[in-house]
């Protein structure tokens, strides 16, 4: 008896099923990407009420408008000190104006530059749990309070929560028209430091 030849069927890809599968995968990925997005949830943030005492801060962030801030930290005191040394002969008003212009020239930052400095500050705070910073945020009346919240939420994001903060109302013009901007040597927590004093 002769054996019949076994016919080997060639596997063919079904076009209709392929399109269907592609559609199913497309729908699956679309749906998962939609579902995976966690909806925004309402959260809370604690803000201390301002104390009625002489303000003292390592960093002062004066919000100018929605895009610019004036950042005053330790480096500002050396600028003020240098001007006091070089132009000490000027009248108090002229000296204050010169100090103010120098501070403006050196320390006005865009919002993104400020974010970078805040990141550096947070990194410094995260390196040492014993370090302690206080950031004072001054904000003009017309600026949305959400800008203050965005700064606070950034500095609130440290590992040891060692950056304290406070916020008060205030404008750049108030600093410009302050009675005096000067440096003073002060003893604070056992350390002698040179600080900027802005006398409103």
């Amino acid at each position: 008896m002769a054996f019949s030849k076994v016919k080997i069927k060639k596997d063919r890809l079904e076009l209709v099923s392929l399109i269907d599968m592609i559609f199913i995968l497309l729908v699956f990925f679309l749906v998962t990407s939609f579902v995976m997005r966690t909806p925004l949830q309402e959260t809370i943030l604690y803000i201390p009420t301002p104390e009625n005492v002489l303000g003292r801060a390592q960093i002062v962030i004066q919000i100018i408008d929605k895009n610019r801030v004036l950042w005053l930290d330790d480096s500002a005191s050396s600028i003020v000190e240098q001007i006091e040394r070089n132009y000490g002969y000027l009248s108090e008003t002229r000296l204050r104006n010169r100090i103010f212009s120098a501070l403006i020239n050196e320390n006005i930052l865009s919002f993104s530059q400020m974010q970078e400095r805040l990141t550096l500050l947070c990194n410094r705070a995260d390196e040492n749990s014993f370090s302690d910073y206080f950031v004072l945020i001054r904000c003009p009346n017309e600026v949305p309070f959400s800008m203050v919240i965005s700064i606070i939420s950034k500095i609130n994001d440290t590992r040891y929560r060692n950056i304290r903060y406070g916020c008060v109302g205030g404008t750049l013009d108030e600093i410009k028209n302050s009675r005096a901007i000067r440096t003073a040597v002060e003893r604070y927590r056992g350390k002698i430091r040179k600080n900027i004093i802005i006398d409103f």
């Binding site: 309402e42 809370i44 009420t49 970078e116 017309e142 949305p144």
Partner: protein
């Protein structure tokens, strides 16, 4: 010439049919789950965020409670669809005998006329005139009364909450802060309601 009649049976392709059924099944399952989620959100009521709160870019967020626990100032746009419309403040007070949701307290504030609209020119007013406006008077009276009835001693647990649309001017916020501050350590902090979540946290530089 005689036409040849072909009598091919039009059969339904089984694999294609199964694929279509699967597609329909997935579609109906997904739309069902999404619509149910929306219904639950509406039923819960309080979970729903009615307006744009400021965003909280922090990895460590504390979820807000839907129940009102202390005095809350809710600041909204007069017309939610118009960003440039004025601001209105609602005074939300918790009930003594039973818990109340934020939404429920807002309804009560509407019924009791515990709301006031800030004048359009409030940014141009001096501090004295600003504090004499009806919303500021309402805020001042509410804090004073609430403090007299609930905050007897200085304590970190004494808090006032602010739930404000993110375009709220700092002047309004600062006014409430300063009022709380005038009571010294009796009201040492305020709570701000913000929006936190994955999308917001992803924006951290």
């Amino acid at each position: 010439m005689a036409f040849k009649r072909t009598d091919e049976k039009k059969g339904l392709s089984l694999p294609g049919l199964i694929d279509i059924i699967f597609l329909l099944l997935i579609f109906s399952l997904v739309t069902l789950s999404i619509s149910q989620a929306r219904i639950e959100k509406n039923v819960a009521g309080n979970k729903e965020i009615e307006f744009d709160l400021p965003e909280m870019r922090s990895s460590d967020v504390v979820e807000a409670d839907n129940l009102l626990k202390t005095l809350m100032f809710q600041i909204e746009l007069v017309d939610n669809s118009d960003e440039k419309s004025g601001k209105v403040v609602y005074v939300l007070r918790p009930l003594e005998d039973r818990p109340i949701s934020i939404r429920g307290a807002r309804q009560r504030a509407l019924q009791d006329s515990l709301f006031a609209v800030f004048p359009e020119n409030f940014l141009e007013l001096n501090d004295k005139d600003f504090s004499d406006t009806p919303p500021c008077k309402l805020i001042e009276r509410s804090i004073r009364e609430y403090k007299e009835n609930h905050f007897f001693n200085p304590s970190p647990a004494n808090r006032i909450e602010i739930r404000a649309v993110k375009s709220t001017e700092f002047r309004i916020f600062n006014y409430i802060l300063n009022l709380c501050s005038s009571y010294g350590d009796t009201i040492p902090q305020v709570i701000i309601h913000t929006l936190g979540g994955r999308e917001v946290r992803d924006g951290i530089q």
